[in-house]
Amino acid sequence: MKQSIWPTFTLKDRDVFRHRIGPLTIFLKRFLDEIWVASIRDDETRGDAAGLPDKPEWMRMALPGEFDEYRIHPVMPDRPVIIDTEHSYSFFSQTRTRVFSRVPVWVRITPASREDLVIAELPTVVLSETWFGGFTEGELSYAVSSTARRILTEDLLEPHLVVCPMEIRNNSDAELKFEKVCLRVDRLSIFARGDALWSDETVINYQGMDSSTDTEMKGVRPPEAGDAKMVSKPRTPVRKSIGLKTFRRLRDFHIPGF
């Protein structure tokens, strides 16, 4: 029987468990009440888990008790991600559109009976850091190579990538031009259907003038996800809507630090 991508598994004393999620293979070893975690990444995104390296870089964790069952969950990255629109994107006044982006998930390991006890969180893909804002203030984020797509086909669904639908509305009287969008993934939930992962929909309302926009997280699975079940709650508690800088316009960083 095929093992689930996000399994709950039993780990006996001194056993080593290995599991692949996208390019990431994780290794878990139990020693009394300690858990040892190691990981490697390769170019494959599917298939069998990679073999244990000769000299794995173990992380040792002493737990407050002995646990037999452990669980691997998908969670969103711990910082906002910057979605590239590939080309400069213009929105005329009173226009709305829906786009999809794919964000690599993180893997959270917990005892099955104590999900609050986070043993480790590992990114399936190590993302480059990027800065969202100006030279004097801004926000540290991750850069995602995936672009904002209008149409999502089945072949784009990967087990380690969560599909994030976004609706962008230009409610202002002015034209909106941008080339990057900041997606606040820490406020999104994850829903799973088979091996595919979906986040709830983000609605971005651009009001014009100010760089801040109203961003609303719907909190329910998108229609494309069908009967997907929620597998991860947002890292940051969700408010009805938040006003934050969301678009990176063309004029930002026009003087590249000189």
Partner: protein, 302 residues
């Protein structure tokens, strides 16, 4: 009559004892309470806001508390504060004249704190010395240098001199000066440099790295490659970039030239003969190989 006199004296002595007792209680309770309050406030504000504000709040509470305690004690002893304050004013003026440097430092300290050009925990460079601001005190700024030496800079000096706050802004730029041989394809060099930066996860994608053609050097084409990172990762990126560039250039066969010096005695002569003497005293000559050591000395003398 004697009885009344002794009773009166006894009452005065009792009253004095009572006053002394009250002052003692005020000091014994007040001082530790003040110290506890200062420490608690410092910790709370440092935790919730910043160590800088914690230190300031602690000091403010302490000095205000000490003043209140002093006034209370003096009041208990029956001193009237009005002439005392007048005297303090005159004394203050006299002291200010006598200790101008001290007064300047104190006033400069207020301006330093108010200006907020740096706070406790910032890394600053003053007069070529770089370190972490340890405390901003009444008289001076204390800095812990990176080699763990302690630097004290008077507030007046800080106000008057230029200093750089290295960690004021959240991101920093790493500059790499690179030289390549004239024969190299600069387009390929540029691709390699951007690729090296892109492969380092702590090199920020935005603001983007930048390659600047610096100058045609005497023996190389000089380039400046800059990339951005979080201030915490500055050294990590500098090492990562320089080591990554060297590694990739070696792999791709891109020459990093270094100055080659040929020494001539004149335009019409051959290069000067040169002896390389190894540890076992074997003489290797560039000008006249195979000659003995004594012969070589003669040649050099010629």
């Amino acid at each position: 009559m004697e009885f009344l006199s002794s009773l009166f004296e006894g009452q005065i002595a009792g009253e004095r004892l009572f006053v002394l007792l009250r002052v003692l209680i005020i000091l014994v309770v007040g001082l530790p309470l003040l110290l506890i309050l200062r420490r608690a406030l410092n910790r709370y504000i440092s935790k919730h806001y910043s160590p800088h504000y914690g230190m300031l709040a602690g000091k403010l509470v302490f000095f205000v508390g000490i003043t209140i305690l002093l006034i209370t004690v003096l009041h208990e002893f029956g001193f009237s504060l009005t002439p005392l304050l007048g005297a303090a004013g005159i004394l203050g003026i006299a002291l200010a004249f006598a200790s101008q440097t001290t007064a300047t430092n104190i006033i400069s300290g207020f301006f330093l704190v108010a200006e907020k050009s740096f706070v406790v925990g910032d890394v600053i460079s003053v007069g070529g010395n770089v370190g972490v601001v340890y405390s901003i005190d009444t008289m001076s700024v204390k800095i812990r240098m990176f080699d763990n030496r302690f630097l004290r800079v008077p507030n007046e000096t800080m106000i008057k001199s230029e200093y750089i706050n290295i960690t004021r802004f959240p991101i920093r730029r790493v500059d790499c000066n690179i030289s390549v041989a004239y024969k190299e394809d600069l387009t390929r060099v540029s691709e390699i440099l951007f690729d090296v930066a892109a492969k380092l996860p702590y090199s920020l994608q935005e603001p983007p790295p930048l390659l600047i053609f610096d100058k045609f050097g005497s023996s190389s084409i000089d380039l400046l490659f800059v990339a951005w990172t979080r201030k915490e990762n500055f050294l990590k990126l500098r090492n990562g970039l320089n080591m990554g560039i060297k590694e990739r250039f070696d792999k791709e066969g891109i020459e990093i030239p270094f100055p080659h010096v040929s020494v001539y005695a004149g335009s019409a002569t051959k290069p000067l003969p040169l002896d390389l003497i190894s540890s076992d005293k074997t003489v290797l000559s560039s000008g006249a190989q195979g000659k003995s050591r004594s012969e070589k000395t003669d040649t050099a003398t010629e």
